[in-house]
């Protein structure tokens, strides 16, 4: 089961998000758009974390990585294990072994016993990704999860999310400002501007979209390549 929404309207202060139709499956849907376009608001509304009108369907077990992940007092291992153990209802030993695996998957095996609060922003994002994946979600909501990752670590993290989605069938919704992230993780894209959808279609066809922001994104992607 994927994540779908119809006639979704969410308000945060003076800002209104209006998304007539949304769908995400294991193939992944990237949510693109300039700052303040409503990417985070859409993710929160899809997860039911902020009040919204419209119809949203999502699987029972969802997990998220926020742009600025909050961590609990304690080691990285404990942070992942306590959440996974609680969500999956498994034993402490099993939760810890899951947490170790998840932390190794995101490249944090060296920092397993480090105080989570002392980790850098990039490391916290890796921790948050490990925490989310250890919960074995059926839908994954990622808000700029690779934004602070090292350039050489980013491809592995993107590949991790992609392979998890393929292996488990987990739906992926990825809010990002990077075309490279979107292309590596998602097949589909939804472009927002000022709370409205300006484009919906395959990521591979974004270069044909007549929109200034998308054109700039595509051009930047070419320069990087």
């Amino acid at each position: 089961m994927g994540v779908t929404a119809t006639d979704l309207i969410a308000r945060r202060g003076a800002f209104t998000l209006n998304v007539p139709a949304f769908a995400a499956s294991a193939a992944g849907t990237a949510v693109l758009g300039p700052n303040g376009a409503g990417k985070t608001t859409l993710l929160l509304a899809l997860q039911g974390l902020i009040p919204a009108n419209g119809r949203v369907e999502r699987p029972a077990r969802c997990a998220a990585v926020f742009a600025r992940p909050a961590v609990l007092r304690g080691s990285a291992l404990w942070n992942v294990a306590v959440v996974a153990g609680s969500v999956l209802g498994c034993t402490v030993t099993e939760a810890e072994s899951r947490a170790r695996r998840a932390l190794a998957d995101v490249g944090l095996d060296e920092a397993v016993h480090a105080d989570a609060r002392t980790l850098s922003t990039g490391q916290r994002q890796r921790l948050a990704l490990a925490r989310a994946l250890a919960c074995e979600p059926e839908a994954l909501f990622l808000d700029e999860p690779f934004a602070n990752a090292d350039a050489d670590g980013r491809p592995a993290l993107r590949a991790l999310v992609r392979s998890w989605a393929e292996r488990s069938g987990c739906a992926v919704v990825l809010a990002t400002s990077s075309l490279a992230d979107a292309a590596a993780v998602c097949a589909d894209a939804l472009v927002l501007r000022a709370g409205s959808v300006v484009h919906r279609g395959p990521v591979s066809a974004l270069d044909t979209v007549a929109d200034g922001y998308v054109a700039a994104l595509v051009a930047e992607g070419r320069i990087v390549r």
């Binding site: 974390l49 997990a63 998220a64 926020f66 600025r68 992940p69 609680s86 909501f141």
Partner: protein, 209 residues
Amino acid sequence: MAGIAALSVAVSAAATLLAALFAVPGALWIVHGRSRLRGALLALFAAGLGLPPVAVGLAVAFALWRSGPLGSLDALYTPAAMVVAQTIVVLPLIGTLAVLALRGGDPTLPMQLAALGLPRGQRAALLAREVAPGLAAALLAGFGRAIAEVGAAQMTGGNIEAHTRVLTTATMLAVGRGEFGQAFAYVAVLLGIVAVAAGTALALQRRWA
């Protein structure tokens, strides 16, 4: 001496716990609630920080006076009256420090835990664990203020021997009688209790840090 010290600790600990029973939910409401009255309660807490214990003692003594509004309770000059007065004295301090403790963490943590699918009870337990050091510090600060105050204890307890005499009121009486050795002994015990409370706070903070 032991009885006086024990009563001091018992009255102040009871007042601290009773105050926390109102102050912590109040602080939770100020930090997480949506009502516009939250600001008013926070202002009340802040204003109450400077509340003179003698004024609180006067108000409680007046209320409990035989001909006062609560005179029928016959509670004046009892440890219970002292607990009530000290509760009012320390409530604003515990409330203010609890607000600071609750605001200290990442404000999106509750939402992020919810986004991971944690059940409500588990979320509450983890959030409580996060704020525990700050709340413990708030309680110990409240206890320190309660056990050190003299005005409210004197007015509502009356410093009756073996009944409502606590370390601070006993010290005042000893000085009045010119028994400075006794007064210094009371103060030494009082300082010892405060030091143990502060040491416990520090140890807890260090363990939880």
